[in-house]
């Protein structure tokens, strides 16, 4: 592994080692660029992961204080945990479920396809599905996505059997074990899935793709990567000409270090990416870096989510095997006859007993609730994930008074459901219940959203610099050597789990950065 001098201003500094940053680091290293990869969290491994929900939460989750505001239920249930993201090498690719779906063509043209929806700040993406397709193919191959590249689907578990039978009886047609970045057979020096049932806790079999044990070691092998765990970025610095010059960070001992840079790429997940840019304000950029549009932190999206669980007479043991073991894709299409625009996916989900107790009905107590938990082994579950509407007032902002351990303002995450989001969720709850009723559910329960795992849009890519923060390459409109490299770039949220698209954009961004560097434009 390389070690670069803090004064070496020929390096690319990438902040965040997850789906965006970890992938970008490897792609750039493979092309011969020198990369310093700053990661706030520690480096774990399949050996240090544990099949234990609370232990893993404390080991992997981003636990620095945040506040939640707005009318969304998460603000009431989890006022200091608006999002469930990670602080660890590999970022959220350590705890993600693995669902890897391409966005649909019309979803890149949300403004055009959905027309003008009151209160929604919709725009078309500045790129098309056709432009992304070659990169989607590279990402699917890199990640080993099942049902692509002749990789077979995963075998369905009990939770999927319930979903499949219910869905087909309810009339759904596209129901299968999904496109998953989880090995169904050994590939890329990683084993096939052991059906551990602890995808969210870090995959101990290594079957699930994570930058932690794919991109990052591959980048290290090039001799071009200087990975610095436990290094919390505090500020991106710039010169008088409006070029980013380096990153101030706190190392594991709290010591302040400035790493100089030729190019800076921000991939801290949407909340921290926006916070870092806002906290990097200066006399030249008083409202934060790359924020001439005023859109940094705005248009925060988190997907319209919810879950439906059902209890049955006979055992299911939903917690056995892949957490996201299958999908119903029929509702993802564009079909405004349902009373809302945009689509949603239904994907199996399971929780262990500790998280089931904490999340099935936050705040509930008493016999009615424990009667449900007593049925834990006879329970099946699905997660709803659908497109939510971007709204300018849904925003990551700097808290006016509260500071973190480094003396910097903590983020507040404000979210109000759009009427379209509520109509979609209510419809999806009913459809999910219909699936389980079709196979004899005793009881179905509608579970409100968990803290956000899909955090999107706070530095969105736009054609016009007035409307957003970066262009179609993730390059900020204001500083040409500053890039956004994570889900913050998303112009709209689409219905699909975002990781595949984040990886795809990172591969494409690496080509652009390398190309522009060759042409001496960067």
């Amino acid at each position: 592994m390389a070690r670069f001098d803090p004064n070496d201003d020929s390096v690319v500094v990438i902040i965040g080692s997850g789906a965006g940053g970890g992938t970008l680091a490897n792609e750039l290293c493979q092309k011969g660029l020198k990369v310093v990869l700053l990661e706030a969290g520690k480096r774990q491994s399949s050996a240090t992961f544990r099949n234990d929900e609370w232990f893993a939460f404390n080991q992997l989750a981003w636990l620095d204080k945040r506040t939640a505001s707005g009318s969304w239920r998460v603000a009431k249930d989890f006022p200091n945990l608006p999002a469930w993201t990670c602080k660890t090498v590999g970022g959220t690719t350590v705890h993600w479920a693995g669902a890897s779906l391409r966005l649909q063509e019309h979803e890149f043209k949300a403004r055009t396809a959905y027309s003008n929806i009151t209160g929604a700040n919709l725009l078309d993406w500045p790129l098309t599905l056709a432009e992304l397709e070659p990169y989607y193919a590279k990402a699917e191959d890199k990640m080993g996505v099942t049902r692509t590249n002749d990789i077979p689907g995963l075998p369905g578990n009990n939770n999927f059997k319930v979903m499949y039978n219910g869905a087909t009886r309810a009339g759904y047609k596209t129901v299968h074990t999904g496109r998953m970045a989880i090995n169904s057979r050994p590939r890329d020096d990683r084993s096939a899935c052991w059906q551990l049932g602890f995808c969210f806790q870090g995959c101990k079999s290594g079957a699930k793709w994570s930058t932690l044990y794919t991109e990052i070691p591959k980048a290290e092998a090039t001799g071009k990567l200087d990975l610095r765990p436990e290094s919390q970025a505090l500020q991106i610095q710039h010169d008088a000409n409006g070029k980013a010059t380096g990153v101030l960070y706190a190392d594991k001992d709290g010591k302040r270090v400035v790493q100089k840079a030729r190019i800076v790429c921000v991939a801290c997940n949407s909340i921290e990416t926006a916070r870092l840019l806002l906290n990097s304000n200066s006399s030249t950029f008083p409202h934060g870096l790359a924020n001439s549009s005023g859109q940094v932190g705005k248009n925060y999206m988190r997907h319209t989510t919810g879950s439906v669980y059902a209890t049955f007479k006979k055992p299911v043991h939903m917690y056995r095997g892949t957490v996201m073991a299958g999908i119903i894709a029929d509702e993802a299409e564009l079909n405004t006859k349902r009373g809302f625009t945009g689509g949603f996916e239904m994907e199996t989900i399971s929780l262990g007993l500790p998280f089931a107790a904490a999340f099935l009905n936050p705040g509930a107590w008493g016999r009615d609730y424990t009667r449900l938990l007593d049925q834990f082994n006879n329970m099946a579950g699905m997660w709803i994930v659908g497109e939510d509407m971007p709204q300018e007032t849904n925003a990551v902002t700097l808290h006016p008074t509260e500071k973190d351990q480094y003396g910097l303002p903590i983020p507040d995450v404000h979210y109000d459901d759009h009427p379209n989001d509520m109509a979609m969720r209510n419809y999806a709850f009913k459809r999910g219940a219909a699936v389980y009723d079709a196979v004899g559910a005793i009881q179905t329960i509608e579970v409100p959203p968990y803290p956000s795992t899909h955090n999107l849009g706070t530095c969105r890519m736009t054609e016009n610099p007035r409307d957003g923060v970066c262009n179609k390459w993730g390059q900020t409109h204001d500083l040409k050597n500053l890039f956004i490299s994570d889900g913050s770039q998303f112009t709209t949220s689409a219905a699909e789990n975002p990781t595949l698209t984040i990886v795809t954009l990172a591969i494409r961004q690496a080509d652009y950065i390398a190309g522009e560097s060759m042409k001496r434009n960067l």
Partner: protein, 181 residues
């Protein structure tokens, strides 16, 4: 070596109650004095009241009082270093008795529930509930009683241990769900 009273109680309990007490760290009622003797912040009556409250918040017939005593212990331990929490607990428990015009624990089960409904928006109740949800449901002994096996890594996962053993519905076709490799 002089053994601290609490350690002694725990060790005695291990002999009596076996694995249950080992896993939950609870000094079990009925041997070597009352379980509340190990509390640092709460007195015996407060401990008993809090245990009854914890049981009413998440009642499971399959669980013993010892499992709920672990919740009391965790709150008591945390309160030992947090005076604000100690006050919150002392005051909240006193109010339960005051509202009961006597002892909360002497009320019928239904009346205990009714009394808790009157306070379930208070910081006191919320603190007890939020501590209990982790303390109770992250207890491996509770997992066993409620039928949750926890970690599967030591089995090699569920691949050969029933991940697809559900037999009360037909198997999906291989196109939707391929056979395991």
């Amino acid at each position: 070596m002089k053994m601290k009273r609490r350690e002694f109680l725990q060790k005695s309990a291990i002999v009596v109650a076996g694995a249950a007490a080992v896993a939950s760290g609870v000094a079990v009622v009925g041997y070597a004095g009352p379980w509340t003797a190990g509390l640092k912040t709460l007195n015996a009556h407060e401990g008993e009241t809090l245990l009854r409250m914890a049981r009413q918040i998440f009642p499971h017939d399959r669980l013993d009082d010892a499992h709920y005593a672990k919740v009391v212990q965790d709150l008591d331990t945390e309160a030992a270093t947090k005076p604000d929490l100690a006050k919150l607990l002392h005051d909240g428990l006193a109010k339960l008795d005051a509202d009961a015009h006597g002892k909360f624990i002497s009320l019928s089960g239904d009346d205990q529930i009714a009394a808790l409904k009157q306070v379930d928006e208070t910081p006191f109740f919320q603190k007890v509930r939020s501590t209990e949800i982790v303390s109770l449901y992250n207890n491996h002994e509770v997992w066993k009683r409620l039928g949750y096996p926890g970690a599967s890594y030591q089995l090699g996962g569920y691949l050969h241990h029933g991940f697809n053993d559900l037999n009360w519905l037909p198997d999906p076709p291989a196109s939707a769900s391929p056979k395991p490799m």
